[in-house]
Each structure stands twice: as C-alpha cells, then as structure tokens.
C-alpha cells in the first residue's frame, strides 16, 4: 500500500496503473465451461487494473452455474451491493444465465453511487 501523501504534488505523482486490485472467488473453478472475464481477460483470483479504468466483469453460461464467494476491489467487498443483480440471496448465478457487471466511470465514483453516498458536487 502507498504511504499517506504529504502534499498535493505527491497526489499528482501517483502512478494510476495497477492501483486497483480486483479479487474474485467462485465455487465452480473446476467447471471446464466456466468463464469469467474482467475487461475481456480471463479472470484470475487477483487482477490489477488502472485506478481510472472502467471495470467490466462478464460471466458466460456454464454447465453448473456458480456461487460468488468474494468480489472485492482494494479490499472493499462489493457483493452486498450487487445482490439485486444476482439470482438468489446466496450470491448464486444460475447455469443458463449470462451475467455482467459494469463499473464506470471508475471504481470510486461507481461505489459512491451504488452505496448511496449522496450527490456529487
């Protein structure tokens, strides 16, 4: 993790690449048809993205469906905010269903909105 900045110059110096760590854990990783992609790339347990980037998560139909155990960005668990997008309360996506999540314009602004943190000035 970065140390806290002393000055605004330090903030301007932040290299935005790889500042977001998306962590994803699902139950059916042994399913040969299982396919989750983050920004078009097959998802790894941990994936690093640019701070300012949109994040698109795509789940293609699988044989068994899956249960999402964890979906966090920089350690912030976002699954509770997404329950309404899933099929049931135990974070399940059914087998026959494709699913995607679009986080834009960037993670921080998206999180502010979906977490009902009020109007942006």
């Amino acid at each position: 993790m970065r140390q806290d900045s002393q000055t605004f110059s330090d903030i301007m110096d932040i290299e935005t690449a790889d500042q977001l760590c998306v962590e994803l854990a699902v139950t059916t990783e042994d399913d040969p048809f299982y396919d989750i992609r983050i920004n078009g790339i097959k998802a790894q347990p941990k994936q690093y993205l640019d701070l300012m980037s949109e994040i698109r998560i795509d789940f293609k139909k699988s044989q068994r469906g899956l249960v999402m155990l964890k979906l966090s960005v920089n350690g912030r668990e976002i699954l509770p905010l997404l329950r309404h997008l899933l099929d049931c309360e135990d974070n399940c996506i059914e087998a026959a269903r494709a699913w995607h999540l679009s986080i834009s314009p960037n993670f921080h602004s998206w999180y502010h909105t979906v977490d009902s943190q009020g109007w942006i000035a």
Binding site: R2, T16, F107, S109, H112, Q117, W119
Partner: protein, 438 residues
C-alpha cells in the same frame, strides 16, 4: 498530512451572510470577507482573492485558521463539515490518496494548483443566510441571527456588558427586493446548481424565504435543485407543502435541543408540546415525497444531559440528528463546562441507550440517506459518547461556570424563568457558582 487537512469545499461551495457579505464556507470561523452581494456577484466572489487563497492553502497542506472547528471535531472522530464536503468530491479520509486521485474534482484541484487558486467551474452548493428575522430568542444564539435577541441584547448589554455586546444594526440584504431579484437572476446563470440551503433567523417566519422560493419555481431552477432550510418548528406554513412537491428534493432541518420542557428554556419562548406536534406534521409529509428531515441539535452542558431522551426520540420518529458543530460559543454553555459528576452520569445515560439498542459505529458519512437512518442515529449517539468521554476539561472551568450563572441570570431577569425548573439536576452546581433561586 494532506489527508488530515485538505477539504474540497472551496471548489464548489460558498456562503452568503445575513448582511450580504460572503464567507468562504458555511463552517468557517474566519471573519466575513469584504465582498458583498450588493456590489459583487456570486461568480465574481467565487474567484476572488479569499477563495483563491483558501484553495491554495488547502492544496499546500496548510490548515487555514477559519477551519478550526472542523479540525477540532476531527480529534473526536465526528462526522464534520470537512468529511461531508470531501464526500461530495468522492474523497474518503480512509482511502485518501487514491480517492482524491480518482475524484471527479481532481482536474479542478490541479487547475487551481497551476493557476494560483483559480477555479475553473461554478459553485454548486450555496448557503444563504436570509437575515435575523426570528420569533425565538435562543440563549446560545445572538442578535445577528435573531431579531428578538437584537432587542433583548439592549437590556442584556446594560445588565452584563462584559458578557453581552451592544447589538449593532442587523439590516439584512433580503430587505431590498431589487437585490433579491438580482440574486435569483444570478442563480439562474449558475450551471449545475445542486443545493441551496437557507438559514435565518427563522426562515419560515421570513417573507424573503417565500419570495425567493417562489422565484426559484418561476425560473425553473427548482426542478433541478435540492433546497434545504432550518426551522425551529414553531411555525407550519402550508406553502412548504408545494415546495416539497416541486423542488427536486427538500431537506428540512429542525432545530431542537431537548424533547422536554428544557427546550422551552433554551429555545425561548417555544413550547415543547407545540414543537413536537409540528415535527409530527412535517414527518407526515415524508411519505412519497423528496422531503428529508433531520434534527439540528447543538448540545450544551444542560441538553447533553438529556441526549439519551433525544436519541430515543430520533429512533421512535426515524429522524436523524445532524450537527456539524460542537458548541463553542457562547463558551459558558459548552458541554466541557459540565461538572465531573454530571458528566459521568451523562455518559452512563447515553451508554445505556446505546447498549439497549445494540448500537455499533458505521462508516457512513452521507447522513441524509433515507435507507440508513437507524445506522446514522447510532453513529450520532456514539460520536457524542466519544466526545463526552474524551474532551479535556478547560483550565478555566470554574471561572466559566461563574460566568455561566451571570449569563443565565441576565436572561432570567428579562424572561422571568429559572433554569433550575428545567434542568433541576444542575441546581447544586449552579448554586455553588453563585446562582440564587429568585
């Protein structure tokens, strides 16, 4: 560190004071600026020297003197103006560096950094002080916010000149209809105006409030703007119902300090039963509208003792309390003047209600979130508990307590009432400091 000092408020907010002078922030303790709406437009002030200076100071990591109230509350982990304004820029103090870098306002901060504090976009959050027309004479208020106190302070100053300044003339800018019209015309020129908060006096008692709201409806500004105001709940005017329907949202703050007759003493001459009835009338308007209600409490040493009852009232009515201030003036009314034994009892009473409802802290800064009212009430309770447990007793507490007695007796001489009838637990403490019962 920047995360402990920075605030984004000057990039979208300004305040207009009762006499038409501008202030850089609604929470600023700095003197009003020399700029006035009579000769300086809102947009001109927005890039005036005081605004450019405070932006530059904040970007440099300095702690402007006028921001002391927010920094004081930071020490107790209280949700304060700074945190709430940062949130409107999508900046969190828990994730400061990255959230600031990702903020939609980052480009504006950088522009100001490169251009000596100049801002390249218009304000979206205004606080407008309409004037001091008011039907109440609250003991912690002053003539600048209460026409009733403007009259009372003449006598108070004669009786206790060391405690009460002689009132000046507080002619408000809103008494000039042409200036009010010009003001609304200026609002119409501001793109993306998001929030206008009106303060009095008592706004619902002030014809200027209705005149401005009616013009905001005429100009079409209303449909895109959230309007906020604060009332003492002694007045219910049906015109409010139209405003609640036609503004994008209506945020109503209700100033109340206790749910018992202690409120009658503090917010004289209100009557608590009537105030509670009015609050219930307002609450009934919440259903299906954009009305959000909050209590605006600013506890003093007496009302802090009854915070447990206030918290229970909030839970019962599902109304949050929102106060970005810890009372600092008049200094004699500060919670910190409380004697140690009553401080401990107050802590126990608040802890009892916290335990009863299994309250836990939340990281929610957006207190005006209808879906998280209970959570916000819990946070408020825990914040006040933290303050009461951790504040430092002022070295001059005994002298302040002596002054407190003189301060209260000056009011009681005019009002023919007695604090010990409304806060009997404090009788011994007050007598010890010279209070006489008659």
């Amino acid at each position: 560190m920047l995360k402990d000092s920075f605030c984004s408020s000057p990039w979208f907010h300004i305040r207009l004071r009762y006499d038409g002078s501008y202030k850089v922030c609604r929470w600023s303790r700095e003197e009003d600026t020399k700029y006035n709406i009579k000769d300086t437009s809102i947009l001109e002030f927005y890039n005036s020297e005081p605004m450019r200076e405070i932006r530059s100071e904040l970007l440099a990591g300095n702690r402007p003197k006028g921001c002391s109230a927010c920094y004081y509350q930071d020490q107790f982990g209280k949700i304060n103006g700074r945190k709430r304004q940062l949130l409107k820029s999508v900046i969190s103090t828990d994730d400061f560096d990255l959230s600031m870098r990702a903020s939609p306002h980052y480009k504006h901060f950088k522009h100001s950094w490169d251009n000596q504090g100049h801002a390249d976009h218009a304000p979206v959050d205004l606080q407008i002080d309409l004037g001091n027309i008011c039907n109440s004479g609250c003991v912690m208020c002053g003539p600048y916010s209460s026409s009733r106190l403007e009259r009372d302070y003449v006598s108070l100053n004669q009786y206790e000149p060391g405690l009460f300044e002689a009132p000046r003339s507080y002619r408000s800018w809103t008494r000039d209809p042409e200036l009010v019209n010009r003001f609304v015309d200026q609002l119409a020129e501001i793109p993306n105006l998001g929030y206008i908060h009106f303060l009095g006096g008592e706004t619902l008692y002030d014809p200027a409030f209705y005149a401005i709201c009616d013009r905001l409806l005429e100009t079409g500004i209303a449909k895109d703007a959230i309007i906020g105001t604060t009332t003492n709940a002694t007045i219910y005017d049906e015109r409010i119902e139209r405003y609640i329907r036609e503004f994008k949202e209506f945020h109503l703050g209700i100033s109340i300090e206790a749910v018992t007759d202690l409120n009658d003493y503090i917010r004289w001459p209100s009557k608590i039963n009537s105030v509670l009835e009015t609050i219930d009338r307002f609450c009934a308007l919440r259903e299906g509208t954009g009305l959000f209600i909050s209590l605006r409490i600013t506890p003093n040493l007496f009302t802090a003792y009854e915070l447990d009852k206030m918290i229970q009232f909030m839970l019962d009515r599902q109304i949050i309390a929102e106060s970005c201030n810890i009372l600092t003036t008049p200094s004699v009314l500060r919670m910190e003047i409380m004697p140690d034994n009553i401080r401990l009892e107050t802590i126990d009473r608040i802890r009892s209600v916290i335990d009863q409802h299994h309250m836990t802290a939340s990281d929610n800064i957006n207190v005006r979130n209808s879906a998280r009212i209970t959570e916000t009430i819990h946070t408020v309770a825990l914040e006040y508990l933290s303050f009461l447990e951790n504040y430092s007793v002022p070295e001059d507490r005994d002298q302040q307590a002596d002054q407190l007695v003189r301060f209260l007796k000056a009011f009681e001489r005019l009002r023919n009432n007695r604090i010990i009838d409304h806060a009997p637990r404090f009788a011994d403490f007050l007598r010890h400091h010279g209070y006489r019962d008659c």
